[in-house]
C-alpha cells in the first residue's frame, strides 16, 4: 500500500507538471519564405536583378537582428528568387510554382509591367500578398486588387510633373522617341503632353523603338530634320543609352529629357560620360545622392559591399517591400493569416527602415488603391554622375482620387 501510494503520488506529480508545462508557450522559431519574382536576365535585368539583391539584403539584415518577432513566434526569412525574364508567361509559371509548390504567401519584386500585369490578373484569387516594385503600368493598382500593393508610383503620376517642368524650361516643340508600344510609357507621354499643351507647346514627333533595339539612328535622323527644341526619351536603360550616344553621333545638340532611371554604371556600359553630359532623367526621386539620409547612405554602402556594384536607383522599391511586411507582421503578431497582414499593410505608416522618401496619403504609406507615392525629381548627368537638381511638384491627393476613379 505504501509503495502504491508513492507510485501514485509520483505519477500525479509528473502528470500535474506535464499539464502545466503544456500550458506554457515557448517562443518557436519559424521560417517565413519570401518569393521574389523578377527579371534576373534579359533587358529587364537592369531593374530586376538589383531588386532581387535588395530583398536578399533586407532579409539577411532582419535575420542578423534576430528575425521578425511576431507574437510568440520568431520568423527567420528565407528568400526564393525566380527569373521571369520580364516575360508574362514565365512570370505566371514562376508565381504558380511559388504558390503551389513552395507554399509561398508573400510575393515581392516585380520590376517590369508586362510580367507583373500577367500575375496581377489572377492574384486576387490567391491567398497571398503581392508587393510590386519598379513596374510602372498604371492599371496594376487602378483595379483595386485587395491583396496587391505597389511601392513605386505609376508612370503618369511622374509624366504630368515632368511635362510641367519641361514646359517651364521653355521647350515648345518636343520630339519624342520611345518604346511607345509599352503602355506605361504611353501613359507617361499622355500626361506629359497634356501639360505641354497647356503651356502652349506641342509634340512634333513620336518615334518608336523596341525594348531590344540598339540602332535608333533612323528615328533620330528623322526627328533631327524637324528641328525640335527638345528630345524626350522613354525607354529601358540600354536602348535609351544608345539613343543618347547616337544623338551625339548625329551632331544633335538639343536638351535631352529622359524617363529611364538606371545607375551611372549601367549607362556607361553603352555611352561615354561626354555623350551623356547634360542628359536629364525626370523620374520618381528614388535613391538620391543629395537627399541621402542615414537609411539611404547605409543602404548604398551595404549593397555595394555585398554585391560589388552600386545599387540601381529603383532597387529600394523592393528593399522597402521587405520592411513593409516586417512591420505589418509584427503589428498583427503572426504571418499566417494573410488577410490580417493585408489589413495591417493598409493602415501602415511609412516604416522607419524605408530607404525611399514616401509621401503618405492620409497618414498611411499606401492609399485606398494600394499605391504608395514617392516624390518626383529632375536629375541631370553632370561629369559622370546623376545629380539631383530639383523636385518636380506633384499632387498626390488629386492623383490618388483620379486613380480610384478609374476603377468604375
Amino acid at each position: 500500500m505504501k509503495t502504491m501510494s508513492k507510485k501514485f503520488a509520483f505519477t500525479a506529480v509528473i502528470g500535474i507538471l506535464s499539464a502545466s508545462l503544456g500550458g506554457l508557450s515557448w517562443a518557436t522559431e519559424k521560417e517565413l519564405v519570401l518569393g521574389v519574382n523578377d527579371a534576373l536576365t534579359g533587358p529587364g535585368a537592369v531593374y530586376g536583378l538589383p531588386q532581387s539583391n535588395a530583398v536578399k539584403m533586407a532579409a539577411d539584415e532582419i535575420n542578423a537582428k534576430g528575425g521578425i518577432k511576431a507574437g510568440a513566434d520568431i520568423y527567420k526569412l528565407k528568400v526564393i528568387s525566380n527569373d521571369d525574364k520580364a516575360n508574362p508567361t514565365e512570370a505566371t509559371n514562376s508565381v504558380r510554382k511559388l504558390i503551389d509548390r513552395d507554399n509561398v504567401k508573400y510575393l515581392l519584386g516585380f520590376c517590369c509591367s508586362g510580367s507583373t500585369s500577367a500575375v496581377a490578373s489572377f492574384i486576387e484569387k490567391e491567398n497571398v500578398v503581392m508587393l510590386v516594385g519598379n513596374a510602372a503600368e498604371r492599371a496594376i493598382t487602378a483595379k483595386g486588387i485587395p491583396n496587391l500593393f505597389r511601392t513605386r508610383p505609376p508612370a503618369d503620376f511622374t509624366g504630368a510633373a515632368a511635362g510641367t517642368f519641361v514646359a517651364k524650361r521653355g521647350a515648345k516643340n518636343i520630339a519624342v522617341i520611345g518604346s511607345l508600344d509599352v503602355s506605361f510609357y504611353t501613359q507617361y507621354l499622355d500626361a506629359f503632353e497634356r501639360e505641354i499643351n497647356k503651356a502652349g507647346g506641342k509634340i512634333v514627333a513620336k518615334e518608336t523603338f523596341g525594348l531590344k533595339d540598339r540602332d535608333m539612328t533612323p528615328q533620330l535622323t528623322k526627328v533631327r530634320a524637324l528641328n525640335p527644341d527638345a528630345l524626350l526619351i522613354l525607354g529601358y536603360v540600354e536602348p535609351a543609352a544608345f539613343v543618347y550616344r547616337q544623338a551625339t553621333e548625329l551632331g544633335m545638340k538639343l536638351p535631352r529629357y529622359g524617363f529611364t532611371s538606371g545607375s551611372e554604371e549601367q549607362f556607361l556600359r553603352v555611352a561615354t560620360s561626354e555623350q551623356m553630359e547634360g542628359v536629364w532623367d525626370l523620374r520618381p526621386t528614388e535613391l538620391t545622392v543629395e537627399a541621402l539620409d542615414a537609411n539611404a547612405k547605409t543602404y548604398v554602402a551595404n549593397y555595394t559591399a555585398k554585391f560589388g556594384t552600386a545599387p540601381s536607383p529603383s532597387s529600394p522599391y523592393a528593399y522597402d517591400q521587405v520592411y513593409v511586411l516586417k512591420n505589418a507582421i509584427e503589428s498583427v503578431g503572426s504571418a499566417d493569416d494573410t488577410k490580417k497582414v493585408i489589413a495591417a499593410i493598409r493602415k501602415l505608416i511609412v516604416p522607419k527602415e524605408a530607404v525611399m522618401k514616401y509621401l503618405p496619403t492620409a497618414g498611411a504609406m499606401f492609399d485606398v488603391n494600394g499605391q504608395a507615392y514617392t516624390s518626383n525629381g529632375a536629375f541631370q548627368w553632370q561629369k559622370g554622375k546623376w545629380v539631383y537638381v530639383s523636385d518636380l511638384p506633384s499632387d498626390t491627393k488629386t492623383y490618388s482620387d483620379y486613380l480610384r476613379s478609374l476603377r468604375n
Partner: protein, 285 residues
Amino acid sequence: MIEIFQQSLNGLAIGAVYVLIALGLTVVFGILGIAHFAHGSVAMFGGYLTFLVMEKFGIPFFTAMGIAMVGGAALGLVIERLAYHPVQDAPHINAFIIALGLTMMMEGMNLLMFGADQVVIQTPYRGVFHIAGIAVAELRLIVILTACVLVGAITLLIAKTKTGKSIRAVAQNRQAAILMGVNVSMVSLVVFAISSALGVAAGALIGALLAIAPGVGEGLAVKGFAVLILGGLGSIPGAIAGGLILGVSEAMAAGFISSAYKDVIAFLVMILVLLFRPEGLLGKR
C-alpha cells in the same frame, strides 16, 4: 535631301557589317555548297573574344580584332574538320542538319563562356565630322573603311594567289579540280578559316557599333542569308552589293516609313528582287 543622305550613310555602316557576314556565308556556300547557319554564332564568338582581349589585356581595338580573327580562323578549321568534313560526300541534307545543330551548340557555348549580358565594345573613335549638313560619326566611317580593307584583301587573295586559284577551281568544278591535283581538303579548310575570320570581324565591328548579346548572332545570320539571296548565291560582288543595299534600305524604311517594320521591309525588298530576278542581282542565270 540631307535626311536621305544621312539615312544612307547610317545604313552604309550597318550594310558594311552585312557585307562581311554575307561574304563569309557566300564563300562557304559558293565553294562547298554548305548553308553555314552557325556563322552568326561564330561572329558573336568573335565579338565577345575581342571584348575580352581588350578588357583583360588592355589591347587596342584593331589589334584585339586581329587576334580574335586568328582565333576565329582556328575555330573555322575545327568546325570544318569535326562538323562538315565527315559529311562532305553524304547527301546535302546531312550538312544542312549539322549546320542547324552546330548553330544551337555555338549559341550554347557562347552563353556558357561569355554569359547572357549585353556587351558593348568601347572604342576611342568618338569624333563627329560635319560635311554639308551631314553628321559623319568617326566610328561609322571606320567600320565602312575596315570592311573595304577586308573585302579588298579577300578579293586579292582569291584573284591573285595560288590558294585563291585553287579555291576558284573547286568553286567551278570540284571533280575537275580533284583531277587537276588540287588539294580539295586543304581548300575546304582555307575557305572555312577565311569565312570565320570575316565573321569574327563582323562580330567585332557590330560590338563596337551597337552591341553583342544572345540573339544578335541569329539575326545577323538571317540577314546574311537574305543578302546572299539578294546578291546571288556564291557571288562575291553580289554579297557586296546586296549587303549595302540591305543596310541602306533598312535605314530608309525605318527613317521614312516606320522603325517597327524595319526587318519586314528589308525582306520585302528581297522578295521583289527574287520575283523579277530569281538568281539575285549578280548571280548567274
